[in-house]
């Protein structure tokens, strides 16, 4: 096999991790059939992707990101002794800093990555993005950084209702009253700590851009998507590729200003009425709709693998607009042996090298204590 690629982010709930779409993209890369072995890196024995035999060939559990970089390096060294890994594609926000800090050491054991720098990764901390946008004249919703609930009154006075409250890395809520804002403040503070950001709400159509830049910060591919349907959390459940030249130009400028390296997701909202695009977030990883971009003609996860290995990449100039994705939840049935193996040993080989197909039969578990 030519490519042994490890991918994180295997859990598909109502806000699916990006790893699954990344793996599906890799699996469909022309000429890679029989040349690709996918090593899933998961955080929990019940992460859904572990039990999808068409996605991963083998799976290993990682320590939680909160355990730090040293713990991640230690575990990847252990895994590397059991299986070959040429490239890792980390796809979760919370783990990016650890992987970035681990990169020089992982390189010495033959594991390569294509990642943004530490300072670029920190841009997805929502309170630093507003400063960047201000300095580079990029339209973004007016944002205030909040440490204490007493600052809410000032935020409401400045930004009005509905007020968007966001945790530093994850989770956002819209508050329509002061009491609601106070309640969400406490929820977000308890879950993610401070600071929080308070943001004005820009009503309009949501969408995003998936991008990949090479080590010289040259964008090698980019696809724009407009959300067609969202979950009750506001997460995209369906979307369509669009030739939004303005968003693509703005994304190119942002990534060039940042001297970006590696994958990125830029999230925008186009204001209703004016149509003006506002940047909401930059995420230092592929989005969970990377597979849509691959099917529209730009397989950026496969390009990331080649770039990480130091190979030249030529991506398609354009992509097909009007390609739609709709998410679909599916029950996967697996055996107790399979769950027991990943839960107790932290590893599971679904397919030995060179073989495809395996699925157990049995009862899925109700709870994991």
């Amino acid at each position: 096999m030519k490519y042994h690629v490890a991918v994180t982010g295997l859990n598909a709930t109502d806000d699916p991790n990006p790893g699954l779409g990344v793996i599906r993209s890799l699996r469909e890369k022309e000429g890679w059939e029989g040349q690709l072995r996918v090593i899933g890196l998961a955080y929990d024995a019940l992460d859904t992707g572990i039990h999808s035999p068409e996605l991963v060939d083998e799976v290993y559990l990682l320590p939680y990101a909160s355990q730090g970089t040293a713990s991640l390096i230690h575990r990847l060294r252990e895994i590397r002794q059991k299986t070959r890994i040429d490239v890792v594609i980390p796809t979760l926000d919370g783990e990016q800093l650890n992987f970035c800090q681990a990169a020089p050491i992982l390189r010495t054991i033959g594991i390569r990555m294509l990642l943004p720098s530490e300072s670029q990764i920190r841009l997805h901390f929502k309170h630093t993005l507003a400063d960047f946008c201000l300095a580079h004249e990029i339209p973004t919703p007016r944002t205030l950084v909040i440490y204490e609930s007493r600052q809410l009154e000032e935020a409401i006075g400045t930004l009005g209702y509905p007020l968007v409250l966001k945790g530093i890395l994850h989770e956002a809520h819209m508050a329509y009253t002061y009491h609601q804002a106070q309640a969400y403040f406490e929820v977000l503070r308890a879950r993610w700590g401070v600071p929080l950001v308070a943001q004005e709400h820009i009503a309009g159509d949501g969408g995003g851009v998936i991008a990949l830049c090479d080590r010289k910060s040259k964008p090698v591919g980019m696809v724009a998507m407009k959300k067609l349907a969202t979950t009750d959390k506001g997460k995209a459940w369906s979307g369509v590729t669009v030739k939004d030249e303005e968003l693509l130009r703005l994304s190119t400028r942002i990534l060039e200003d940042l001297k970006w390296v590696g994958p990125a997701e830029l999230e925008f909202v186009r204001q209703a009425g004016s149509g003006k695009p506002y940047l909401l977030e930059i995420n230092p990883r592929f989005p969970n709709w990377a597979y849509l971009a691959a099917r529209a003609g730009q397989n950026l996860p496969a390009a990331a693998v080649q770039l990480a290995l130091g190979k030249a990449v030529t991506c398609a100039d354009g992509y097909q607009e009007g390609v739609i994705y709709v998410r679909h939840a599916q029950d996967i049935v697996c055996s107790m042996d399979q769950l027991a193996q990943i839960a107790s040993r932290g590893e599971l080989v679904l397919r030995k090298s060179g073989k495809r197909s395996m699925n157990g039969k049995g009862t899925a578990s109700k709870s994991l204590l």
Partner: protein, 85 residues
């Protein structure tokens, strides 16, 4: 203390346990896995204690206390077999 028998459980040598009645899943440490293995083989509790002292670097009092606590925990989670009426 010598009467406990374990329910028919799914378990592997790494301490993964599945109770097919309740659907509950447990993860045991090495000592717990050792005890369960012995009980599943039908080894009486007194013998389990002796085996523990043989296999682990532990004094009689500590082993006895740990075993008792573990059996109580198994009982609390409903993992011990009911005594015949």
């Amino acid at each position: 203390m010598d009467m406990e028998t374990i329910k028919d459980l799914y378990f592997n040598d790494k301490g993964f346990i599945f109770d097919p009645d309740s659907g509950a899943i447990f993860s045991l440490n090495t000592t717990g896995a050792f005890i369960i293995k012995q009980l599943q083989k039908g080894v009486p509790v007194k013998r389990v204690l002796a085996e523990m002292k043989k296999d682990f670097d532990v004094d009689e009092g500590t082993a006895q206390r740990d075993l008792r606590e573990f059996l109580d925990m198994l009982a609390a989670f409903g993992l011990l077999a009911k005594a015949p009426a």
